[in-house]
């Protein structure tokens, strides 16, 4: 699979990564190369094979239906959550205006 610069720009937009035209022209052959290499997987006959979902058979647990059963993953830690925010006001994360 060969990807062109337009595809690279589309993928970058989906990934929310700003790229310049220069980046896109550099990345196009690079990604084409890697994608070409991984395409050999198409050779493998996988008919009747279920895609893997878990490497080690494991039962997915439900946690106890208790509020704040584990304080580390419970609530009431707003201030701790906000301490690393690039910008926060009144206990909210702030972002540039979204709606005009």
């Amino acid at each position: 699979m060969s990807v062109d610069t337009a595809t690279v720009k589309k993928v970058a937009a989906l990934a929310r990564i700003a790229i310049t035209d220069e980046d896109a022209s550099r990345l196009a052959p690079e990604l084409s190369n890697i994608l070409g290499w991984i395409e050999q997987l198409g050779e493998v006959d996988t008919s009747g094979v279920e895609p893997m979902t878990a490497v080690i058979a494991n039962h997915l647990r439900l946690r106890d239906d208790v509020v704040n059963a584990d304080p580390l993953t419970g609530g009431g830690i707003r201030d701790a959550l906000m301490t690393n925010a690039p910008q926060a006001e009144h206990g909210f994360f702030t972002v540039p205006k979204v709606i005009e």
């Binding site: 990564i17 990345l27 050999q40 893997m52 647990r61 690039p86």
Partner: protein, 493 residues
């Protein structure tokens, strides 16, 4: 007194217990060594106070006649992928610069609960993506090893390159690593130390910065097999905060160590004899076979027919998971924010991520985004997960005729920095022997086997059945005792 930094985890623990030296003396000795080793660039943050406070607690407990904790008096290094409360944690990426976790990862908490102290946070490939430690935003880690008469800096391997470099240079007796496709085993092999990736789910992923969640697994890197067993015991264990954590008791691996391989069958996968494998690797592999035979094992040839598809499957699955996991870095809740003049929200996301992520991270996010995008998902991702099931089945069938597998850890000794960084695929191929067992979630370890002609370490890999870390450690011990690997890098830093 002999130099305490020459001692490993078991010797330090035992010496503190018997009072041969104090834990504070140990911590002081390592703190000095870390401070002097700046040219290796192994540490991103030094935390001498953390190490000293754990050491004082150990000495106080001994003075009070209390039973000492399993790692009392042992200072370690912590890969910067583990969130450490109050200590900057960046995964070696600009996008997390300035991030100071308000919580502790389960693995690091378990180590502190076991009495260990932290000497600092270790440099690594950015978001654990790399095999040479050249993708860190904070500079390359340099291997303490050099080719004779050559000062060209060598790669310590990756992604746990800081851990590898620090343990090999004697800056810490052990360090945490994480392994997604070989990130514990390949660097361990490059610097002549031991490292084990346990069965997927043994160590909790909670608080470990995510790369590819179905593959990421923490493990120890240390000077020998016993030290790895001791440290792994402290790191492993069920954690309700990780949905894929295994609800299993942690075996007493150190207690169960035995170098006798009588009655054990060691499988040699024929597909691992790859084209162009250096003679020295071939010779080391044969030496490993002879050592295990000498320990009483029977050698059998096995086949893992889908081996050649492991790397391409990995380079779909891991980037796909990474593209999803790394979507969280958006400049809103933590880390870097780049807000160009007049930019809206979408522009802020894109600018932040363009500025914060390194080239390899962006490359993998883009590959992941592409293979998951509409119209391509089944051809790439679903097919890769099917191939992954076939790879796991190959191992399952092989383990019907053998107990462990023996392979080289990497297809070469350490390469020079810059030697492979221009060609992503050449770099990816370095993980050819470690990726298949990662895809199958199996325990696997690297132990040093010998030196190549240039005097650089080479590693042997042992792969075990699910949950059979003991079998892996024991085979590793059998090799360790026969290889007699005692080479250490000459201090130049």
């Amino acid at each position: 007194m002999a130099d305490l930094t020459d001692l490993g985890i078991a010797a330090l623990r035992d010496g503190v217990r018997t009072g041969a030296f104090s834990a504070v003396e140990v911590a002081d000795a390592f703190v000095v060594k870390v401070a002097k080793a700046k040219p290796l660039n192994a540490f991103l943050v030094e935390t001498p106070d953390h190490a000293l406070s754990a050491a004082r607690a150990a000495d106080a407990a001994r003075a009070a006649g209390e039973t000492l904790k399993p790692l009392a008096g042992v200072p370690i290094g912590m890969k910067d992928l583990f969130c450490t409360k109050g200590v900057a944690t960046t995964a070696a990426s600009h996008i997390l610069e300035g991030f100071v976790p308000t919580y502790e990862s389960t693995v690091s908490q378990k180590l502190w609960d076991a009495g260990a102290g932290m000497l600092g946070k270790l440099n690594m490939d950015q978001f654990a993506m790399g095999s040479s430690n050249e993708t860190s935003a904070f500079g390359n880690v340099i291997s303490p090893w050099r080719r004779p008469g050559d000062i060209a800096p060598l790669a310590p391997g990756g992604s746990s390159g800081g851990s590898a470099s620090a343990v090999s240079a004697g800056l810490c007796p052990g360090a945490t690593g994480t392994d997604t496709g070989g990130s514990i085993r390949q660097p361990a092999a490059f610097v002549g130390i031991s490292g084990i990736k346990p069965t997927y789910g043994r160590c909790s992923r909670w608080g470990t910065i995510a790369f590819a969640s179905s593959l990421d697994q923490a493990g120890p890197m240390a000077r020998d097999v016993r030290d790895c067993a001791i440290m792994l015991e402290a790191m492993a264990g069920f954690d309700a905060k990780d949905a894929t954590s295994l609800q299993r008791d942690v075996p007493r691996w150190e207690h169960g160590l035995s170098p006798t391989m009588a009655g054990k069958r060691v499988g040699i996968p024929k597909e691992y004899r790859v084209d162009g494998m250096p003679e020295e690797i071939e010779a080391l592999w044969q030496a490993g076979i002879d050592w295990l035979k000498d320990a009483g094992a029977e050698i059998v040839e096995v086949s893992l027919p889908h081996t050649k598809y492991a790397l391409p499957a990995y380079y779909i699955i891991a980037p796909a998971e990474a593209s999803s996991n790394l979507a969280r870095y958006d400049g809103v809740r933590y880390g870097l924010r780049d807000l160009p003049e007049g930019a809206g929200l979408q522009d802020m996301y894109a600018a932040t991520r363009a500025e914060g992520f390194g080239a390899e991270v962006k490359r993998r996010i883009m590959i992941g985004t592409y293979v998951l995008s509409a119209g391509f998902y089944d051809a790439y991702y679903t097919q890769a997960q099917k191939v992954r099931a076939l790879i796991a089945r190959d191992f399952e069938l092989a383990f019907q005729t053998c107990d462990v597998l023996l392979t080289p850890t990497a297809p070469s000794a350490a390469f020079a920095l810059g030697e492979k960084s221009a060609d992503p695929i050449a770099m990816y191929l370095n993980d050819v022997f470690t990726v298949p067992s990662s895809l199958a979630g199996l325990p696997a370890m690297s132990v040093p086997g010998g030196l190549d002609k240039a005097g650089l370490p080479l590693g042997l890999q042992i792969i075990g059945k699910p949950l059979d870390e003991q079998g892996v450690l024991n085979a590793g011990l059998a090799i360790e005792q026969r290889a007699g690997f005692a080479a250490r890098p000459q201090a130049w830093w």
